[in-house]
Symmetry: C2
Subunit: 453 residues, 2 copies
């Protein structure tokens, strides 16, 4: 008899984990909806032609490919074997599993461009798969949770993303965090201003590591990437710039005065702040981080990253503005801005801080228990009255000793137990025990509903 | 430039479809939770050793297999090619995609048997994949929605399944349907009573087609399967039995008086009815259908099937009791009962009947519009006040002609539009237009919140 196991890097989510994940996801969904975002879902499988070449060579390696159905090997000849897996792949597989939610979204927008109402705000919460080496906190199947608005360049969208992040964190009782904000145009301007015009790509890649490896190592990397000593020296004051938001803006206006695009980036940033102020919102939690780069090359405007302070996991959310989401599928000029929440990371953060709600909204409130057949019948007669009052209620299904029924309630962390004995039957009452305080009181049905609700 | 497409048999779900699917699934989830069921999720990928051999030869063919990562072809030799796909499969693939939710659930129970609290009530709503030929209403990726309780043989579970189905249908405004109920033991008893003891397998398979092909064709099939003419003749009165519930029970007690297991089946059925009556529930919608067989061979007790009347799609839910869920994974004796809702089918039924709610709970209620920069700033100042009152609100992000903003509201079916012009700014009001009635009224913020809520 085989002993079953899970594929490496995958997980089951049991009842407790699911209740907590649902708590996080419901909070996020509710917020997205409040801001007018609409949910879509795309298939788990995409044609390999849709996926391949979108994530770099390494990404192509990490794509899960699905074996063609039926006689999958029929087109493979003996001499193909010598050419290796790369040459054989297209003969045995034409579909792959979703690697992220961005490429499927781009495909969706292109295929539905005539039906969609632009600006189109969508959110999408689905698993993605990557054949990566599993390690702590990295899985081969994990959920992504993306929101994007496409078809507008309005900076209202950036301001609203900040508001959505703040709302989600407030609802999750996360209070110590910062929303790091920068603009890719500023980084382009900095490259110009330090005499490395056009080199913002390698500049961003190096700067992206500042938090992890420190300024000295970043300097080494920049030197290796061909940045002159003079350029690197010009960069230094930005790295060590300690100032408030207004101070940073003023500094940059001077620093970038020779770079048109750099000044445009500062201007966009200021407009986002202005929109927030017009909305009656202060700039709490917002941290203008000139050194925030984010690796992805397709960002062209604002970039975001959210870090929770005082926990081992850092970044739990991020995103940015792009101006060519769908060009690769033949529809140029679709600009937009998007961001995503790392659901697994948020889970770990709430767990580490111990701030998951103690009571789940999805689990049983009341277990009805009984001593004998008469009590069983009486409990059955009450059962649906509790449910009709909206109370999540169970009856222990088999007639066993009452202690076993109480054990069941304890293990399932059911907060109330209703006892149905002869006394309760005769007085048309029920004894309700609060499993947290231990208090037990006899009461009628209406009172019991009020107590348990 | 490539034109993107979807893999055959897969679908995107756009905002309207998602809102409707969410409506159905939220109704089902809420009901499961009210009855104490807890959600779990299992990985999309399972080891092929977990999946293979569980769904028959045809099922094994329909499993989606995932190509091993890296140099997947390295173990395949030239002479393997001659042996064909079957021999090569195990060398190039060790994982497959979930084919249903039952086998993963059985695996989950076995792997977590020491942590779970039994009786364990779980529900699970996830996509499954089958490499079937796509046709109308049949997809290669579709959602299943299962609820099972394992570790108890109490017939309270059967009664509660009937209640859950009734509650879901009531909430979805489905009124014309029947919950067909039978018991596998009765079918075993019938086989005994007509002199075909032990042949309930082929009997069930043939009877299962009664609805589709009629009694004459079923008779032919039974003859082909080796049933004697005398047996088939004895079966005839059951097929044409028109009687109420009590009448059918009485008839069967006579018909099955020589079959111990048959009488046990009738007894179980009567107990389910008795439990329902003790719960204060009538037997409305319940139809004791002696000819309900359901093909799956692992059912051993009650079997269910729910049909909506007056629509082209028939069965939308079904299930039954089994007494050996996990034996194949080395854990014998785990009995339980489960059922599932066909989400795609329920969708099509509600669509065909035109009974989806006209207003979605997930989409935008109010769009704020404006004529110029001043109005834009004013609208921004109101925006979050609406949201803080719980109203799903959007602002048109770019300054365009107001007609275009109204067009946007119409296309997104947003029921209210707030107009922010000079008059409104000067009087600290907003003009709210009801997009359904066409009525437009100027009011202050508190009034607007009340109207739109």
């Amino acid at each position: 008899m085989q002993k079953p196991s899970l594929p490496k890097g995958t997980r089951d989510f049991g009842p407790v984990q699911m209740a907590r994940r649902t708590y996080i996801l419901d909070t996020i969904k509710e917020t997205f909806q409040l801001f007018g975002y609409q949910q879509i879902e795309t298939p788990s499988m995409e044609n390999l032609s849709t996926l391949t070449g979108k994530y770099g060579d390494e990404g192509d390696q990490l794509l899960y490919k699905i074996l063609n159905s039926g006689d999958f090997i029929k087109d493979v000849k003996a001499d193909d074997l010598e050419k290796g897996s790369g040459a054989i792949l297209s003969k045995v597989s034409e579909k792959g599993l979703r690697y992220d939610l961005t490429v499927p979204f781009a495909r969706y927008v292109v295929m539905n461009r005539n039906e969609l109402t632009f600006p189109f705000k969508r959110y999408q919460i689905q698993p993605v798969w990557r054949a990566d080496r599993p390690q702590k906190g990295r899985y081969r199947e994990f959920y992504q949770c993306d929101a994007d608005v496409v078809g507008t360049d309005s900076l209202v969208c950036e301001a609203e993303i900040i508001l959505m992040i703040r709302r989600v964190f407030e609802k999750l009782n996360l209070r110590d965090y910062s929303i790091k904000l920068n603009n890719r145009k500023i980084l382009t301007g900095i490259a110009e201003a330090i005499g490395e015009a056009g080199n913002e790509g390698p500049l961003c890649v190096a700067i992206d590591k500042l938090d992890k490896i420190g300024w000295e190592k970043v300097k080494e990397e920049l030197t290796q990437r061909g940045f002159s000593e003079a350029s690197i020296e010009k960069l230094a004051p930005l790295v060590s710039l300690e100032n408030d938001l207004v101070g940073k803006v003023e500094f940059l206006k001077g620093f970038l005065n020779s770079s048109e695009i750099g000044l445009k980036g500062v201007e966009e940033l200021e407009e986002v702040f202005e929109i927030l102020l017009k909305m009656g919102v202060d700039l709490a939690y917002v941290d203008f981080d000139i050194m925030l780069a984010r690796g992805l090359s397709y960002y062209t405007g604002a970039i975001f990253e959210v870090k929770v302070n005082g926990v081992s996991i850092g970044s739990v959310s991020g995103g940015g503005r792009y101006d060519n989401l769908t060009g690769v599928f033949g529809l140029p000029g679709v600009s937009g801005v998007g961001f995503s929440f790392g659901v697994d990371r948020l889970y770990d953060v709430l767990d580490e801080l111990g701030i998951f709600p103690t009571e789940s909204h999805t689990s049983t409130r009341l277990l009805l228990t009984y001593f004998d057949q008469a009590g069983f019948g009486y409990a059955l007669s009450l059962l649906n009255q509790f449910r009709n009052a909206g109370i999540k209620t169970e009856i222990y299904p088999n007639q066993v000793k009452i202690q076993k029924q109480f054990d069941f309630a304890n293990k399932k962390e059911i907060p109330f137990v209703g006892v149905c004995g002869d006394e309760e039957i005769n007085s048309a009452t029920i004894s309700v025990k609060n499993m947290v305080t231990g208090e037990q009181l006899k009461m009628n049905l209406a009172e019991a509903i009020a107590v348990v609700s």
